[in-house]
Symmetry: D2
Subunit: 227 residues, 4 copies
């Protein structure tokens, strides 16, 4: 049996394995936040859909001098927000891994960009940081700058898969079948350091998530680029 | 001078024309609601963007048995909502031209579709009918059915133009220049009954909008198809 | 019975109707060339796919100073070529309705654009005018200008339908069913002068195609714009 | 100075570095074939464009029982062909790294798929294996199966960049600037084993390309999946 999902599904896989079934897990979520794998199936499709939606919003923002606050998915993780932040050239990205719930900082960033001559601002929120509509209203009330909120929501969860998602899903699926053919069970297929590998479920679940080195590096680049 | 815009811009064009400038107007809005013209530049691009976003939402709705309420643009007009309603096979479309602010009717429609075995519902709201987030919450509170609101907002106002928009814009632009070359002014280029024509601004502004025959016909088709 | 197709299918529909079946036809071809209807289902999807492919080719042509000759579909009709010609800002369009098989003229047009400072040329051929690969080679051999041929071919015949195609197909389908319910047969649903109408099959088949007024008008606009 | 390109550009970068300029290279080609880097900027955009074009061709092939032979770019490398092969579920992929110029084998593969009940075949050729139009004609002449050739050509070299291309380009660009700020020169930024690193140009140019382990692994998966 092959189970595609996240940490919750993997715990289920573990239980089935302990009961004697041969079970292999594949990391599959648009959120990008499964610790044992540098890639999760669905992420590339979701992030490209979000990016193109934000491209469109930027078109309007550019011609109307607006501030747009866009909520992307990702539950408690900032991967989609951070990738879009870099890809869309966002002025700010707000992610749960680093956000300190200080809205004054966000306002200062907007103000700084306006001083530097930027006529429009794109702020990308990961859904995990809170209610974007309310945040936009509070910031507008205090700063006086018109802030329009957009919630991309389930738009990011559909559509034709991208090439990366199709290829990695095929490779991971093939690897899962190979493992089953070898009589293995209770393992998770993962993409780590550029290679397709597999881990024991216990080992996979014990890996550290949150603000990983990779995420930290991306965040620094975003901050450098958005000055 | 060529002015691309809606009725407001055309009134401005008229003033300039009365002051002696040679001015021609071109109907240009994503909302589709300029009475003198059966087509307005920008509509096709916006409606295709909205449709593809709703396609994506349908993918998730189909696999999770959800009810989705999606707000498209259109100000006081229901064109985008109605076209998407037909193109996306929506279960209901709520447009300002016909909406009686009776949310019980919407709930009955959802209930009827559930009885008929439909596991998910797509309801498309034109922005002119009110606050979709609040409407979704009210309907969920009363009916007990989970309703997720999505506001497409400015996503619909950007992106690469579609072929129809590029071709009609080129033809209308060429016609406007021809009119100027003939020494004409105070006229609006329009697309009417399949042909590119031009009207005096007064005549154009006096035409009746709202629930036109064309819109009524589309609405009936939608009702037939969504049974 | 509802038959979706072109003139050939309609003749079949007629035979079935004469044998007593109730048959209604719907104009359906990407080529756009059914005389009784100003629109044929599939055209908008095909022409947008072709246009986006040519957008991509233009990106490369712009940065490499190339001449590109692109063959689009359309059998004996130039609709796709002409629409793309306007939408992509092609320097030339070669369509069967007007082409005199004089390749020297095409070369002169390229030469003229080069003199005017245009660094790259997009020439769009309707498939009905001949073998684009050979034409490109002949023109390159004589003129010395590098001409790269691209045949879009079946790329244009697939993909997710556009909104216009979905909506018009729904309306035409609904109209066909209405006609059947009224006991009518041997009729073709059509889109004419901005309205959905229906014709007797004999009448529909007798209508004149080729270089219609509409096509002529578009061709003139293209010539004006591509100077 | 930052130079974006392939091995040829990197040799140029080396010369400039030896003359005292501070030069950093970034691997940039749609072909995916720069040995020192597991990723080259442009690849993801090109391969997604090719994949969507082949999706469209598959739509027609499925409904018409055709065999399609599609030439993708990649010069002497099979990366685009192989990724599309997996993503599009191609029946065969012909790449320069493994092709033995035995067309009988290709015909046998088609025949085997037909025997297994597959009504249509997608064969993807990397441009490096030869003239696809002629190959299609030869195979059709001998096998009697209708084979339609499509050359995607420059369609793959344009369009809006994907998220992966934008993000990796930003990260590599930031890294190049960091290296310059540190006073370094004559180095190539690369993506290796999931990390962004940098190599001396000599070291980078000496790395082995061709049928790498990664490519071999992908090829085996394709062969397993296309049975």
């Amino acid at each position: 049996m092959v189970i595609a999902g996240g940490d919750g599904s993997f715990k289920g896989a573990q239980k089935l394995a302990h009961k004697g079934m041969n079970v292999i897990g594949i990391p599959c979520t648009i959120d990008g936040d499964i610790s044992c794998s540098d890639y999760t199936i669905g992420f590339d499709t979701a992030v490209n859909t979000a990016m193109r939606a934000i491209d469109n919003i930027r078109d309007t923002a550019s011609s109307h001098e607006k501030c747009s606050m866009i909520e992307v998915m990702g539950r408690n993780a900032g991967y989609i927000a951070l990738w879009c932040g870099i890809a869309n050239g966002a002025e700010s990205v707000v992610i749960p891994e680093t956000y300190d719930y200080n809205e004054v900082k966000i306002m200062k960033t907007i103000a700084k960009h306006r001083e530097n001559g930027k006529k429009n601002n794109i702020i990308i929120n990961a859904e995990g940081v809170g209610d974007t509509s309310k945040m936009a209203k509070r910031i507008q009330a205090i700063s006086g700058i018109h802030v329009r909120a957009t919630i991309l929501s389930y738009i990011q969860r559909g559509g034709t898969p991208t090439c990366r998602d199709r290829v990695y899903a095929s490779v991971m699926g093939a690897k899962a079948v190979d493992l089953l053919c070898e009589g293995k069970s209770n393992r998770i297929v993962a993409y780590k350091n550029g290679n397709f590998v597999d881990y024991d479920v216990d080992e996979a679940l014990s890996m550290k998530g949150g603000m990983t080195e990779g995420l930290k590096y991306m965040y620094e680049i975003l901050e450098d680029l958005s000055v």
